[in-house]
């Protein structure tokens, strides 16, 4: 008798919760994905496409969908990779060998003696940081250049080079004393 009562009670509970859960599943479905925005904030916005996606936002979208690896952002380097892995709760992956460190900020510089005014670089620039018109000399707005290097390969006369900003009393930074205390995230295996 008691056993039957127990079964009945549990049945009632189960049905009630089942209804509730079914209702909640339909009504409180989460739409949209705020993760994209969060990741996009962390990306360096160079729009360089080195990740294989046509810009930072598309890469962020691919990451949010779980389609892309976390270690593709070359300009962001390891710090960005770690941040992305943290946001997506994924394991960090080692960066490609050349990109473990973020590069020093660089800007493109057009050698104005060589430029033939072909506008190819203007088309390539993802942030419209190159000024110029057909057959006219072009110039890079250094303040707005993200250093993505997309303009370098398209130049038919190789007149674009990347230059680092010169150290001046304005942008010089105090180094950390004995700054050798970086802790590695990934211990790389060496095949024996």
């Amino acid at each position: 008798m008691n056993a039957w009562l127990g079964i009945l009670l549990f049945l009632a509970l189960a049905v009630a919760f089942g209804l509730l859960l079914g209702y909640a599943a339909v009504r409180f479905k989460v739409e949209g994905d705020p993760v994209v925005e969060i990741i996009d904030q962390k990306l360096p916005q160079t729009q360089c496409g080195q990740c294989g996606y046509p810009g930072c936002k598309p890469y962020a979208e691919a990451l949010a969908k779980g389609e892309a690896d976390v270690n593709l952002c070359i300009p962001g380097g390891e710090p960005t990779m770690l941040e992305i892995a943290e946001i997506l709760k994924k394991d960090p992956k080692p960066m490609a060998a050349e990109a473990t460190e973020p590069k020093p900020p660089m800007v493109a510089l057009i050698d104005e003696n060589l430029c033939i005014g072909c506008v190819l670089c203007i088309k390539a620039c993802p942030v419209d940081a190159i000024l110029g018109a057909t057959k006219m000399m072009h110039t890079v707005i250094a303040k707005e250049c993200t250093g993505c290097e997309l303009c370098i390969p398209v130049c038919p006369v190789d007149c674009i080079s990347m230059v680092t900003e010169e150290v001046s009393s304005k942008n010089w930074k105090w180094p950390q004393p004995n700054s050798v205390t970086r802790i590695p995230v990934e211990v790389k295996a060496v095949e024996s």
Binding site: W174, P175, P177, N178
Partner: protein, 342 residues
């Protein structure tokens, strides 16, 4: 690489960690002497054992952790840790007690956390708690003062006792400390006042027992540390203040069950804790008010554990518990920065 960018200031008041540590060691000397006079040579042997262990452990751990030996071996912090520990253990306990305790304190209390400056717990007290929990029998049998037993054991005998164990009946010259005496006395319904009358508690120089004299010696050393500004006033004031107030309150409430203030001040590790143990800056709060709260918390907990806990003295557990609370205390006691409203 020689770092060419060095920042001001280019002057220093010539203080150093070593000097601070040596100062503390120096201040512990009176207590060492009193201890030696009253309890025999045990403390000296234990101290050397502890220092030898500390040296060995430091060396091995630094090597294992791949850290340079030089500045780390000579900061004398291990010396202070084991000195604090040695005063807590019975002077004639077997040699492996102090060796295990020191090793545990330094390995688990310091090195596994990343070395000096990174340990959340007071290493000496961690070592002591380890010993107390692991070997309660050895840790609760205190050598009775030579005054009381009339046994002035020669150095060599003490040495043998520590290294090869006892040949004669232990009951004759080991017994309970005043705190455990009080505990068991009260337990059996003897009033606190009557326990105070017992021969162990009252006999000694000027009617004060040996443990009280060690406490007084620590108090004197502590005053020296206060005057040289090696330790902050908040620690002893907060700790002793809280202990005095609670002890006074309960004693006034019921003098039969609660021992008087003087008893609590001069028994167990009160003064050692007040001036030497809780003043360890690494594991304590770092803000001025925080230190006061931290020390007062320990005082309160010591009283609680002494009266209602499982072990007679609660110094170690009180300190370790407050160590856990330190980040919280620090968080909420940040001083008001100039130009900011509270």
């Amino acid at each position: 690489m020689h770092n060419i960018y060095t920042s001001s200031p280019f002057a220093h008041n010539n203080s150093s960690v070593q000097k601070v540590m040596l100062q503390v060691q120096l201040a512990a000397l009176p207590a060492l002497v009193v201890h030696l006079l009253l309890f025999g040579y045990g403390i000296v042997i234990q101290w050397f054992l502890a220092v030898a262990t500390a040296l060995l452990v430091e060396y091995v751990m630094l090597k294992l952790r791949g850290r340079p030996l030089l500045p780390n071996m000579t900061d004398f912090s291990a010396l202070i840790t084991v000195t604090g520990l040695v005063f807590c253990i019975p002077p004639e306990s077997p040699w492996w007690v102090v060796v295990l305790g020191s090793a545990f304190a330094l390995i688990f209390g310091k090195h596994l956390y990343g070395g000096l400056g990174y340990n959340p717990f007071n290493p000496a007290m961690l070592g002591y708690a380890f010993l107390l929990l692991s070997f309660p029998a050895q840790m609760t049998q205190w050598t009775l003062p030579t005054e009381l037993t009339g046994l002035h054991r020669p150095f060599w005998d003490t040495f043998q006792v520590i290294f090869f164990g006892l040949s004669t009946e232990p009951e004759i010259y080991t017994g309970a400390t005043p705190l455990s005496l009080m505990r068991s006395g009260l337990h059996e319904g003897v009033s606190a006042v009557n326990v105070m009358m017992s021969p162990i508690l009252g006999s000694g120089w000027f009617g004060l027992n040996a443990w009280a004299w060690v406490n007084i010696a620590f108090f004197i050393g502590g005053l020296y540390l206060l005057l040289t500004r090696t330790i902050r006033w908040q620690y002893p004031v907060g700790f002793l203040g809280a202990l005095i107030i609670t002890a006074w309150f309960f004693h006034t409430l019921n003098p039969d069950v609660y021992a008087p203030v003087s008893f609590h001040l001069l028994a167990g590790g009160t003064m050692l804790a007040a001036f030497f143990i809780i003043t360890d800056p690494v594991s304590s709060s770092t803000t001025p008010y925080g230190r006061l709260i931290y020390a007062a918390g320990i005082g309160l907990l010591v009283y609680v554990i002494r009266n209602w806990g499982t072990f007679p003295d609660g110094i170690a557990f009180a300190i370790l518990l407050m160590n856990i609370a330190v980040p919280l205390i620090d968080r909420y006691t940040q001083p008001r920065v100039v130009g900011h409203s509270r």
